[in-house]
Symmetry: D2
Subunit: 419 residues, 4 copies
């Protein structure tokens, strides 16, 4: 009669560390190693790196950080493991811990303002590559204790679903950040029913699959993600702000490289700008990179408010006092004539063509809601054979839906722009 | 300098009636006439009519009623009027009140368990027709005070947007019920951002239009609606329960018509079953209909638990004790052989073919997320000319999306079914 | 290193039944026996018994039922067990199931509209006594499987904390109903942080204690409870409605006992009114009681709208059409002169003194927020020795706070009252 | 018949600016002047000043800023004005705007990390004094347009309720920050029902009063505030962090004053440390103060990680890497012997007595939930005469409740503390 009681204390809890979280209530830390990783200064640094870059200029509540997101994603992983375990999927204690570590550290490579600085600070390195490097460093420090987590993170562990939970079309990373970003921005349309999606997870032939009864929640997930992209992540005003940040950093690089600006070796960018030109990234530069946080950028912007170079000065002011440029978005590239025309107004003020390019510029952004080739979302049907989601939903035009959507932007100063 | 202060008391508030609402906090009653309509017994009756029929058998929290929904929709109408007024659309006090009344009474024709009894109790009359009849009766009682509300309700008032707010692809009815049903069922994916949608409403050439910046919220709205249909409104278990309710009422009608059951004139169904066969609906039958509530049906089902007719008895038991039949759903009609096969098991128990049809039956349901022809959702573009939504969203296959989706169901008793 | 991994599947989950709940998301059913109890018709009946009686006349969203509350309280019990287990308190699988059953069935004795009918239907029996009787009946049906649950329910099991979780100053019953009633009424002040309170639970010498760091949540809990009492449970308008319900039932009893009304043996009240006068309650009367639901009362009220007795008729109308009497509340008993004075107006209409008492009446209600004697809330201090809460909180005047608060009410018809 | 329609567009809305807010959904900007003030760099600066100082070290979600709080409080003011206007209180357009400005700017004087730096940066000036100075400066810049707002802010306007809404026991400031801080910390017990409290507001003889039916919400408000104080604002861990911040700044001041550290005139603290010693605060120092934000402090702490002075170095590390000291709280002052004893461990490491005081220190904090003398909360009774809340609530021991509660703390390094 009595068959399904689930919970037993396998080990005595020496001390139960809980983090407060406005979304999940409490987040439990389940092993000592995880607690040590969270307390590590590399991870504590994430407390001071905004999850959403400069989006708080549009969504004033969006000041949350990579620290909270990493903890939240780990919490969702715990819940996913709980569901799968209850469905009879064997997950050992070692695997359990490694899955949690892999997701906890997946974003540890992010720099100041997350994506906003990624293209500049260590040009040529994505935050994923940096994360892996840092995890490997931590693995040495913790004497190999992160080996399994690294296998899962790099998808070299044979049980594919563990990696798929960390990184795939529907992973615990996205399950947390969509919910979290929706919460802090107030864009409630992006809220997803994590619990319902988790409840339909299963594993078949070591692949993550979803029970077909959850199909509407999956649809909703895809649409929520799409909506968050266009309405929040690529919101034209915060896009403008992030583009300015890229521009101001580029200008600074330019000034240094041209010798107009001489960096003191104690300047926070010195090791990044003066690193040896070969591809490899030295440990010492990486360690320096790990000291950079939002406040370093803010501090520079504030200093630059009084800088001799009017480009640096003006761009900094635009960001700090939210005097953002005009930005237009369209689905076709902008005609170069328009670009030239918008630049003309500045020429009157005797600004060189090269400098104009810091104030009038165009480019493109894209978003791909669903990627049909790699790591398809698989549905578990009664018949048994997992079916790709794209073959199941008829009303979505997956050809269109799966195509990356490009948008083209044009930025230029407002009419009464003062330098 | 001072230009935009919005609120002034146009009239002294003698008394401010507020309704508590778990979704909006408080709902204000803005005119005396509205308060009198709410206090009318026709409207009070809605307190005892479930909004979602028998869905509480699947979603135990879904016990909310037509009363709350009607008040909620009126509240959303108030907010829509507020937004439009602030955008410079002139709405007179009379129109304002009439718009509120039209939506307040739009569902007053619903019978017990809302849609579940609609097909049976006054066969041939939809709840919309009944609502109009009742509003007209009330108009007489209130000496013509509802004339403008009737014009809006029947779309004969020239300012089309007023009707469109009451009834169209995105109206305040849907804005309330999606949110409300999502709240009470816990299916959070159906939650929509009413405020954001309202904020993008505008009026152009007396038609309701939506500013194009709201496009993602509109997409989300359509998908939320679709999701609520398949996951909640047409959930197979509550569909089974509602089909049983139809069956049990049909059986009762049959017994009465065949003379096997003799109704006392005091029986709550007497005036409905014995009404004159012509098309028109007499006021006296209508008034009787207006005494019927969920409890009348429940009371009969409970009585029928002890009824001599085993069909009536068994179906009542299945509903009341939630011993629901199996139900299968597929996108193709069921083969008549399967139907026959499922019926065979009952034949062993010497049940006639006609009676078997109460336990084994099939049929179809459909849902059309977006209707391309009538009352298109219109987007207001910068260029000015309103564009239909279908021409703007590229990733949705509107041909498929706009087609009614049919699903076919087959109901039959569980294996250990006891009559 | 690896020490704290918590979750293992002790047994294969044959099938995982989940209930949707708007508050907790999903509620899991953990054993077969529990599932069978939920499916039992005694328990299914709770789907049709309002948790909050007639409160929906004041808080229109408050249509939730005893069914949801019982499941919700069981869910909170599961969480409490989880916390205690993680803190090293050994709870066997049998105890775990029994604790869940005890709380699941704790309210199974409630009659129509919960407390509203309690004083009338089986006079002299509280719902707790009836619950126990029904659990004992179920125990026989399930061949003794509920023995341990009964011990816990009746506080005869030596591990006191198990009973204390079911019934004490802070039990899972209250943790669920405060949260649930707050949710459905929209009185957000009654919302409590269940998770935070659960997290501070511990067991010392088999008694339930709370870690002292949770003291503010406990204070908040006491105040939330107090607020819900005065603002919701004893709201004067819903009090008036419930008093009317008592009055109308009393009137009916009176008419039957005086022979003015003759009951058919099929009348739903027949077995209750004509039961033998001795104290004991026969099984057959109990079984009949278990067929009564809200709809039985509603059905009678609706019938009585056309009853010859004007008292029955008028009171029914007042409830059904929400034409409620005036009610005054004060902290001193009402002077009998006022009562007489209010009655005089009715005398003009030639109503007898005895009948007047159905329309003009007074009485008292009380609420005791904190009971200092029995089952004190105990705080676990670092020193070890549990301390009663009352000795720890200095700013609350526990002498006053612990005293039952009495309020006196006076009901009388509105001025333009028509019989 | 038609009497209560409330909303009319008094003026054409040229452009409707809305801010996204995760708590209220949208916040509307109602006049041009308000929009200009929000866009002013003094106000934009609040985007980078944490509302809750270093509390995010305990509540990781608490990264919200003074910017959001100021907008939120203005929104609550709009709602309060709406309620009062509907109750017939005449509020002119000028008063309306001035009330909004007064609350919008009430916290504009806050420095980095809000209260944490208040005691150090401009010693002797509270943030309220600074706010007034800044508002006066803005008034000059806006040519006297803020005159009425200043009267309200300084309580020199005869209509007292306007100031009381800005600053009293229950003002819109508290209504916003309790709700907001509860939201971001996840301490849901601090959530209050703003709408319910607003709905009971009224004005009598130009004083703010509360209708007596709202008494339970007021009780709840007081308790929520008390709970937030002890559980959140004075949480011992974030208290420890803020005390460290004070200590590290004090140390820096000391080093500069003793000449051990020489400040460059471009150092962000130079004008603050080297300002003339007289009481008055020059405009130039004030303007410099207005350039300081959280990032300035963070930048210094990060620099100090490599500072020659081990005190500066160690304290900075403790904050940035969250290696916080032990902190004990009790209701009696700590014995100086304990302080001496805790210091001894450090003496072994040859640290001077003066330096030890940066690592081992004690002090007191206090909180007064309800202040009985000034600006009593007044209840409006039916009799008419406003009654102080303290005379109405019997169960709260107002003598205790109104007394400031003192707590004494003792901070000292953890056992394995490394400098």
């Amino acid at each position: 009669m009595l068959s399904l009681i689930k919970i037993t204390a396998q080990a005595v809890y020496l001390k139960r560390t809980l983090f407060n979280d406005p979304i999940y209530g409490f987040i439990a830390i389940e092993t000592d190693l995880i607690l040590q990783l969270i307390n590590h200064r590399f991870f504590q640094r994430l407390r001071r790196i905004s999850q959403m870059g400069l989006s708080s200029l549009v969504y004033p509540g969006a000041h949350h950080t990579r620290f909270e997101h990493a903890l939240g994603a780990m919490h969702v992983m715990q819940k996913a493991i709980e569901v799968l375990t209850q469905k009879g999927i064997a997950i050992s204690a070692e695997e359990n811990e490694a899955m949690q570590i892999a997701i906890l550290l997946h974003d540890i490579g992010h720099g100041p303002f997350s994506h906003a600085s990624e293209k500049i600070l260590l040009k040529g390195k994505t935050h994923e590559e940096l994360s892996l490097r840092i995890i490997q460093n931590l693995n040495e420090e913790f004497k190999g204790a992160l080996g399994l987590a690294i296998q899962i993170f790099t998808n070299s562990y044979p049980r594919k679903f563990m990696h798929q939970l960390v990184s795939s079309q529907i992973d615990v990373d996205r399950l947390d950040y969509l919910k979290r970003d929706s919460f802090y921005t107030g864009v409630t349309e992006g809220n997803i029913n994590t619990q319902r999606i988790l409840n339909t997870m299963h594993v078949e032939e070591e692949n993550l699959v979803f029970e077909s009864k959850g199909i509407h929640s999956l649809e909703k997930f895809l649409l929520a993600r799409r909506l968050m992209y266009w309405q929040v992540y690529l919101h034209k005003t915060s896009l403008a702000a992030e583009l300015l940040l890229v521009k101001v950093l580029e200008r600074f690089w330019e000034l240094v490289n041209s010798g107009e600006e001489v960096l003191s070796p104690t300047h926070s960018f010195y090791p990044l700008i003066h690193r040896s030109s070969d591809e490899s990234l030295s440990d010492s530069v990486l360690l320096h990179y790990l000291t950079l946080e939002d406040s370093n950028i803010l501090h520079l912007l504030k200093q630059w408010l009084g800088h001799a170079d009017f480009v640096l000065r003006s761009l900094s002011k635009q960001i700090l006092f939210r005097q953002l440029p005009k930005i237009k978005i369209q689905s076709e590239p902008f005609d170069t004539k328009i670009l030239a025309h918008k630049g003309e107004r500045l020429q009157d003020r005797s600004i060189s063509q090269k400098e104009i390019a810091y104030f009038v510029f165009s480019g493109s952004i894209s978003n791909q809601t669903y990627s049909p080739d790699h790591t398809q979302i698989l549905l578990k049907n009664k018949s048994g054979k997992p079916t790709p989601l794209a073959e199941t939903i008829d009303y979505l035009d997956f050809n269109t839906f799966s195509k990356p959507l490009y948008r083209y932007y044009l930025c230029y100063p407002k009419r009464h722009f003062s330098l």
